[in-house]
Symmetry: C2
Subunit: 344 residues, 2 copies
């Protein structure tokens, strides 16, 4: 493909991103800044259509980009700049406002990203598998009801109400918690579960219920990890004038709700260290085939732990969105890393 064809393709896609309409040869010849006639443009565009980059919705309409066209566009036709100063400041402010609480920071970053891109934002939260058990508490709430609280070294807190066969005194519970912390504190969650399972055999009977439940709670924390994902701004999709409330949209929303498939997709992306795009059917998930998903992994203390991103129509301003996703991932990582956040 020669330079002129590339230029025309770029111009065509940019115009379509702006207008949402099919782009015709006359308009393209005028706006592309090349001194060529519409007829020449038609010849070139016909080749681009053969190559699969654009398609005509019907005979007498202009052309719109195909998923391959968008792919070529982002890979070879545009260069994404750094995050604009204004966006950066806005992100800094919105993320920084919620420090030091990790959970809130994750939430704030996703919400900010969703609002700034006007698309659905999502985030795969840090894995618990790597976290260690920091502290356990057993608190008698009512007769025979004990509240168990797990705290990890990353500050995640999970709690569970447990029914026990007979009342336990506050002192007994404190003692139990102390023993528990002494034995299992500081170990990776995975290991704690395994040890608990082992120890369950020889422990005293009245502690059984609590140990067993603590084990279940730990297991659930790890299991729930498989699908821990926050989604923000699903409503944004309803604002798309294009497909507003079509059948596709419903499918998409239900995929977003179920999360499972999406999580698997994102977990692939955590491997690379760069922004990643799934345009149209590239993800392999049918309901996403009319949409584009952009994700970027983020790292805490130098370790890749999660992915953040957005989901929107294929027709989106990639030049603006990509830096936003990338920048949010970086700032989020800094915010959650030890001592890196000095209002940068």
């Amino acid at each position: 493909m020669d330079a002129r064809a590339r230029h025309l393709l770029k111009s065509l896609i940019e115009q379509h991103i702006n207008s949402g309409q099919p782009v015709g040869s006359r308009q393209l010849a005028r706006d592309a800044g090349l001194a060529i006639s519409p007829a020449t443009v038609r010849n070139v565009i016909a080749d681009l259509e053969d190559a699969g980059y654009v398609i005509s919705p019907h005979t007498s309409a202009g052309r719109i980009p195909t998923p391959s066209g968008y792919r070529f566009f982002v890979d070879s036709l545009i260069s994404v700049g750094p995050l604009s100063g204004a966006s950066r400041r806005l992100l800094l402010q919105r993320i920084g406002a919620h420090l030091p609480d990790a959970e809130e920071v994750l939430h704030a970053a996703t919400e900010a990203l969703s609002q700034m891109t006007r698309m659905v934002g999502f985030i795969r939260v840090p894995k618990r598998a790597t976290q260690t058990l920091r502290h356990v508490d057993f608190i008698a709430l009512r007769e025979r009801e004990v509240l168990a609280i797990f705290v990890t070294d990353k500050g995640e807190v999970e709690n569970r109400l447990i029914r026990v066969a007979e009342p336990l005194s506050a002192a007994a519970l404190t003692q139990a918690a102390n023993r528990f912390n002494a034995s299992y504190g500081g170990r990776p969650l995975q290991e704690v579960i395994a040890l608990l399972e082992e120890d369950l055999q020889q422990s005293r009977a009245e502690m059984d219920a609590i140990l067993r439940n603590a084990m279940e709670l730990g297991k659930e924390m790890l299991a729930a990890d498989q699908e821990r994902m926050l989604v923000e701004g699903e409503l944004q999709l309803l604002d798309l004038p294009d497909l507003a409330a079509s059948e596709r949209l419903r499918e998409l929303l239900s995929v977003v709700r179920q999360k499972r498939e999406l999580v698997m997709l994102l977990d692939q992306s955590v491997l690379g260290s760069d922004v990643r795009l799934f345009i149209g059917g590239e993800s392999g998930l049918a309901p996403l085939s009319d949409f584009t998903l952009i994700s970027a992994p983020y790292q805490i203390d130098g370790e890749l732990v999660g992915v953040i991103g957005v989901l929107g129509p294929m027709r989106m301003p990639y030049q603006d969105i990509i830096p936003l996703v990338d920048g949010t991932a970086r700032l989020l990582g800094q915010a959650l890393s030890q001592g890196e956040w000095l209002s940068s």
Copy 2:
């Protein structure tokens, strides 16, 4: 209004609830089970239109109920039976599966209600203002970062990461927590905040940061109380073939999101002890004017603490929905009350 007019109105509304279409005189004369001609029906219906119970979308269409029509229908034309055995069993199972954890039970009940009614479910969760502080924990997480955990007597857990000026030893933190529990444990949250504010003056300097933050955390718990509401199944609204994705729908969803107005509305309803309906504009909230909201308060240990309900189109099967909302509220209350849940 005579018996025949009532019967016709009832029949008209029932038919419209089933079909969604305007109901004409011929169809009504046929299906109402009365031996009268369409012409007679027309005379009667014309009176009902004058009275404001039905309206004609246009000259040559049949009639559809107005909000007043629905109001009269539920108040005077139908009698709502008890919850069906099957529904009751399903609810028992879905709610019971999550005992004894209150948070999960609230969630499960709302989700079940939403799915069984195929509408949006919501719940106003129990007020914290009445809860007492059960236990506090301070846990050193990293250098100069302390995790504060609040537990109330109802088993609600709230946590917050706190930055302190200089590192505190684990022993110091334990001691602080012990003192905290001794001084404030067992008191209503409201009171704890007040006492903290007082004590903050004369406490030792290094504890200031923690006390101050604990106070903030407590205040936030009470403040957030103003809008604590769970919403389930917003997606259900997209399934309505009627207004699917109209402008109204968008408005409605944004009201549901913002919650504030809705919460105020629900808090009015917690006063009565019975099912309450807001049909069309009865709530005074403009975005709800095409919809019906049905709510029922629930009580824990004999005390009215919250409201659960559904939101859907005015055209809904009231005879089925009302018992479902009522029944869910009752079962939920039993589940959360002391010792009342014996698989009933």
